[in-house]
Each structure stands twice: as structure tokens, then as C-alpha cells.
Amino acid sequence: MTATLSPPTIESPAPRRRGSGRLLRRFARNKWGGVAAVYLVLLVLVAIFAPLVAPMDPLAQDLNAVNQPPSAAHWLGADDVGRDILSRIIYGSRVSLIAGVSSVLLSLLVALPIGLVAGYVGGLVDTVVMRLGDALQTLPALVLALTLSAVLGPGLRNATIALAIVFLPTFLRLVRGQVIAIRKETYIEASQSIGTPGLTIMRKRILPNIASPLIVQCAVSMAFALLAEAALSFLGLGVQPPEPSWGRMLATSYTYVYSAGWQVFMPGIAIVVTVLAVTLFADALRDSLGREIRRA
């Protein structure tokens, strides 16, 4: 053990340390979050490449296979008009993902600028915006979504819009609350003392610092959107037949629950597993982003 003491490294060459690298490493520590992430990536790939992945045409009816249990030909069985359930679930994932992602994005698109301004400017603007949000929030989410879809008319697009409106007050409140918490930080005052315009402060100083809780809320809302889309389709307000959707499949198959139960379980399992995956993903994301917030 001679010369064990190496001279201290004075200046290691500065690596460009990125926040995302640390985030990924922390995220990977959460086993279930990782599993969920892998599942979700696969799901997205399956949805995108549905025509290549699906063994059959989801609309093709095979009257010889009506209500057939899982077999070599139909891995997950066939439904009441002989359509391949596996193919329908694969195509149905597109609907679920579109409804989940676009309703959240649409809501965020509206809530983010309004919430930022309301929180930063405060005063009358803030009061008016938040009272409107409060009014919207007094109605139960699913009931509101149902009413809105009924008014707007059935269909995936309208169901998505309805869900976006339902999410609006939650996102507004979250954005505004986070902005108010950050607004009093000294670094915002420092930006103001520099003379940085308000909009630039919101975009460059506030937005990055409220991103973490927003991302988590997006994931949580997506899980709700998946369920809500299924519910709306189940009630006939979402995707219209014969288009495959998980909720729609539940709606048509539940009458056969005693004679051909697997028909109900297949889309049901798809919904449960996907919602669970999104929720676990959101949890893991929150945990790994949480440290970021606490340090800041």
C-alpha cells in the first residue's frame, strides 16, 4: 500500500450534466415503474403498428366462430358476430391512447397559459378565472363528461373534448397554485430586477419549475381518461360501432357474461392493466421528480 494517496483531482473536465440523466437513473430504481413504462411503450408500438400486429381484420365477421372461446384460430376467442377479439383489442388500444393523450394535452393547452397568467398576475384576473374553475369543479367528473358528450353528440372526438373540459379545473388549479408558490421566490424577483418581461419570466423561469407536478398530473389524468373513455363508449357516447374500442367491447359482450364470459374479461383486463400501468408510471415519475422539487 504505497502511494495510496493520489493527488486530489482539482478540476475534472466539466461534463454537461443533464437533469434527464439523473431522472432516468432514479426512475429505474423503481421496479414497478419500469415494468409499467415498458408495458406502455409496447402498447404505444402496438397501437401504431396495429395493422401489422393484429392477426385479423377487426371488423371481419366469421359467422362460424360466433361466441367461440379462445382457440388456435382466435387466440382470445371471437365475439357475438364472430370478430377476432385479440384484433379488436389491438385496434381498440388506438382509441384508448388517443382519448387519453389528446384529452389531457387539449386540457393542458388551455389551462397552462390561463393558469400561468392568473397565478402570476393575480388580482381580478385570478379571481374570475378561479371562480369559473370552481363552478366547473362542483360537478362530479364522470357526470359532467357524460352530460357534455351527450350535448356535443357521440363520437371519439367529442368524448375527448368532453374529457378535456372535465380536466380543465384540475389543471388550472394546479398550474395556478404552483405559479403562486414559485412567484415569491427570490429568483423571480431577480428576473424582475433585471427587467425581464413578464411573459419571458413565465416561460423561462416559472414553467420549468412547475413542470414536474404537471407531468405527474398529466399521467394521473390519463389514467382517468382511459377509464372515462371506456365508460363513455360503454354507454354509447364514445366510439360508435363497428369501430373497436375497449369500452364498446365491454358494452356488447356483457350480455354474454354467463355464456361466454371471456368476452367480457378480455377488454376488461386490457383496461385494468393499462390504467394500472399508467398509474404506476405516474407514481414512479412523481417519486423521481419529487426529489427535484424538494431540492429546488
Partner: protein
Amino acid sequence: MTEPTSDTLLEVSGLTKHFPVRGGVLQRTKARVRAVDGLDFTVRRGETLGLVGESGSGKSTTGRLVLRLIEPTAGRVVFDGVDVLKLGRGAMRDMRSRMQMIFQDPYSSLDPQATVADSIGEPLSVHEGLRGAKRDGRVVELLERVGLKPQHLHRYPYEFSGGQRQRICIARALALKPDLLVCDEPVSALDVSIQAQVINLLKSIQRDTGISLLFISHDLSVVRHVSDRIAVMYLGRIVEIGDSEQIYTQPRHPYTETLLSAIPVPNPVTQRRRERILLRGEPPSPLDPPSGCRFHTRCQYAMDVCAVEEPVLAPAGRGSSACHLHDYGPGLGGGTVLDLEPTHRPVPA
């Protein structure tokens, strides 16, 4: 500039800030906190004016009022001949490049999500429209000026110590070559060993650039080291202002004397033998400041007149003092209060 540049950079007169205290169902103003109540002072070019006082005396509010980070209730702030409070939004933005601020807490005054380049580069992109490599080039110059290294450019604030962060803040404040730097307790949050480094950095920058400093601090030994002149605040008012050495050696106001007696002396023997003036009780609330002289409730020389009549700042030696002792009672006539015998002994707590 057609006007001849005067010696005075900043002239503050009658500066007042009252914060409303709201309450009740209708959010009516119930009371007003008189945080700053009628300040007059000037800062000359290239000089350092120290602003001292205990917590709640309105020092930090004064700094923010001067930079118009908060709007004053009354008064004037004239910066290089321009009435800052009358400027419109755009003109105010341009003016901000000439007056910058360093904040007390170097941990919260840097955006945790922004790299050093983004933080220091912010004033450069806002006021000079610099981007990319051009901006980074200037940032590197600034980093080197404050004793940091070019390789720190793309790091995040959490990778730095408190002293280093304060250097980053100084670099950011200097980016636009301002004429006035308001330092709000710039070293209070730092270790003593680091304090001296940061203060020496500020001094050396002042020597190089001729920048004026408004140095706010509660630490009298720090203020003495940096200031040419000192203003002593008590409950939103300046009680004494004058030449730094004179304030320390021959205070003209009993409150200044009290503050000085609170500075610890490095020699324990002297420290033990020294007589400290203990103030009775808490500082009065700025919600309802005492009548007459605001300090009379705690002053060891208080006279009857002090509770009735509010003293005004009047010339005393190489400065001014707002104290009745100069006109009434012993009639010091601008002399120091050090030789006076106390008339009210403080009650030991």
C-alpha cells in the same frame, strides 16, 4: 448628455412605503405597516453607502423601493437626474440595466432549473439581445471576473457552494455594467470565511468600474469595512447618516451608540470588560410607532421632549443626526453621544 454629470448618482427624498394590513370579510385596510417612513439620502458616484439597522427597520424594503421592485407610497427616487418613479414601462426596463441588485439568499436567488449560462446570460439576452455563443462568450468573461471558471458555464446551481452562488449572482448583476448595485445583505447567508472573499470581490469590482453600492446589512463590522458613508435606520427612518469612520468612532445618535456596543470585540478580555448597552424590550411595532422620537421608548438618554416632538435630521459633525440631545438637555450641538451619562439605566432582562 447635455447636462453636466453631477457628483450625485442617486437622490432619494421623502421615500415612504406603507403596507396595508387587510382583514375582515370585506378585506378592508385595518392598519398600515409603516415599513419605510420618509427617507432622505443620496449616493454619490463610486461611493458605498451602508444601510444598517436591526431586523424590521425597513432596510430591505428601502433597497427594493430604490429599484422600484415595489411601488412606494410617496417620495421621489432620482437616478442620474431621472425621476425613476415617473418612468413608463419601457423606459423603466431600460433603466433597470443601470441599477442592479444582489440578494441575501444565494440559494433562492438562482433558478434551480437554469444553468449558470442561462442565469448570468439573462440580462444580456433581455437588454442586448445576445444569444448562443456570443452570449456565452460574455458570460465566460463575467465568470472569470468573479473568480469562477469557464467550465462552470453549463452547470446547475445545486453544484455550487453558497459563496460560489453569490459570485454567480454578482456576475449576473454586473453583466450590464450598471452604475448602481443594491446589495441586500449579500453576505449574511454565507460562512464568515467566505464573507470576506465576497466583500473583497465587491470592493475590487468597485475599484475597477467605479460602480456605486448601496450596501444593506445588519452586520456593522461588515458595513464598516465596505462603506464610505453609513445611514443608520430605526423603524423605517434614518436616525443618523454620515461619514463611516465618524459613525463608528463618534456616533451622534444614541441608537447608533447602542448598535456599536453590540459589536463583539475579538479580544475576550476586552470583550468582558466592555460595557454593552442593553435595549429594553422588543423594537416597537411599525404598525403603531411611538410618538415623538421613535427610539425614545428604548433610549437611555430619553427626555420629556422626546415623547412629544419628532426630531428631524440635522447636520451633526460630518453627517446628520435626528436626535433632540443636540438641541435640548445636554445640548450637544452636533457632538458625539459617547460621553453622556445615561439617565435611564436599562433594566437587565
